[in-house]
Symmetry: C2
Subunit: 246 residues, 2 copies
């Protein structure tokens, strides 16, 4: 975290419910608010209006106020939100005070990019291990870490308390890697392989499929082209513009 | 596309409305259905039940039927959906018949991974150009393409009819690159830099922020830990399990 803490422990940070039942869309926006709040804090801001924070995070302010109300944060009329307090609340809810250990499985181009991604360390994560099934890649040093063989996963997972496994293998290997991660007790997986993984119900999977992102953009290109082709010019939008950018 | 077409032009493919007004969540699931349909077609399937397709795409079948009803696709009772017809309909809606040209700006590790990503070509896209602002990287050949200087963007964008720009630069450079892309007429941007971009209303931006994906998983780790810490064990879920994996 690039923001200094203010001595308060997260448990004391306002009236946060024991554990709020948040809509999935709200959960996905909390990291955006957090990033904007860190920038505000670095710039010296102590408070921020809902409009100011909404603009910095790229959402509308009514949505932001509703999201933050789920955390028990309502701001102060005429003053806005306390930046440091809100940072503590969001980091607590997201569990970022834990500095969770991450491993990357598959060190092709994407695995290299992930291993060297500077943004992880400053945002609550430590990449602690890199794995590959290819003996030719084992021992290669990436960003100061030597690639290990996937057979070492069990020992390393226990030793490093790996919380999140990132799968950056070809799709044909992804399910087997997911099974291995689950077997050693990893309950959160970020999957970059373009395939659907089967996991037990207690395991959370998030998926990033780069081609799917392009296909969604392609839909909007197609929609824009067909709208401008209509006699009346640009018509109704096919969705919430904000959702497109989020 | 790895699937052969059946002679019908997309405009004839069933009763697709001129351009359906689709919910954003439906748009995001269409590429998942398409990927599952391509696998089914490769395996020789000519029809598929809603349950079978839903399982292959990792969603529930009621949601799938509702999504496809937006396209005017209801399947045939006792038979299911015609695989080839549904592929045509979804590819038409997503505008994938256009084989859109994509450029990648920023050829660090992530840009390298994107330039070499085999999944693009088979799914409706051509990476036609790579750009960087660093003269030291200009001329480097990645996946058979020479990196060009960002100053060449305007000429190349016109020549190659670039439809989608992918930003893989550091966050400090991302807004300037977005401005350049917009200035040369690109109206769809996929942004990997962890920052919010300002673009005109006719430009669609999708964002992939790797740390945000980890932070959302961290929330679920935190939630699971707090639920198992309660006297009653696992309690209510904080959201739709399916949404987590999508």
């Amino acid at each position: 975290m690039s923001q200094q803490r203010h001595g308060s422990t997260p448990g004391e940070a306002g009236d946060v419910p024991a554990f709020p039942d948040l809509p999935e869309a709200t959960i996905a926006r909390l990291p955006e608010y957090l990033r904007a709040l860190h920038h505000l804090a670095e710039a010296g801001a102590e408070t921020v209006s809902s409009e100011g924070l909404a603009a910095a995070a790229g959402v509308n302010s009514a949505k932001l106020r509703k999201d933050l109300s789920h955390l028990g944060s309502y701001g102060t009329r005429g003053v806005g939100y306390d930046v440091a307090l809100l940072v503590d609340q969001i980091e607590y809810i997201l569990g970022l005070d834990k500095n969770r250990a991450v491993c990357v499985v598959g060190v092709g181009n994407l695995g290299h990019a992930l291993a060297g991604y500077a943004g992880f360390a400053s945002r609550g994560f430590r990449v602690v291990a890199l794995f590959d099934a290819d003996h030719g890649k084992v021992g290669e040093v990436i960003n100061g870490m030597a690639v290990r063989h996937i057979d070492d996963l069990e020992a390393v997972a226990e030793q490093e308390s790996i919380a999140i496994g990132v799968i950056a293998t070809p799709p044909t290997a992804a399910q087997a890697v997911a099974d291995l991660l689950v077997a050693v007790g990893v309950t959160s997986i970020l999957n970059f392989a373009p395939c659907v993984l089967s996991v037990p119900p207690n395991v959370d999977v998030r998926k990033v499929d780069l081609a799917i992102e392009l296909q969604i953009l392609s839909f909007h290109e197609h929609r824009k082209a067909s709208l401008t082709a209509l006699p009346g010019g640009v018509g109704g939008s096919a969705g919430d513009q904000e959702a497109v950018g989020s």
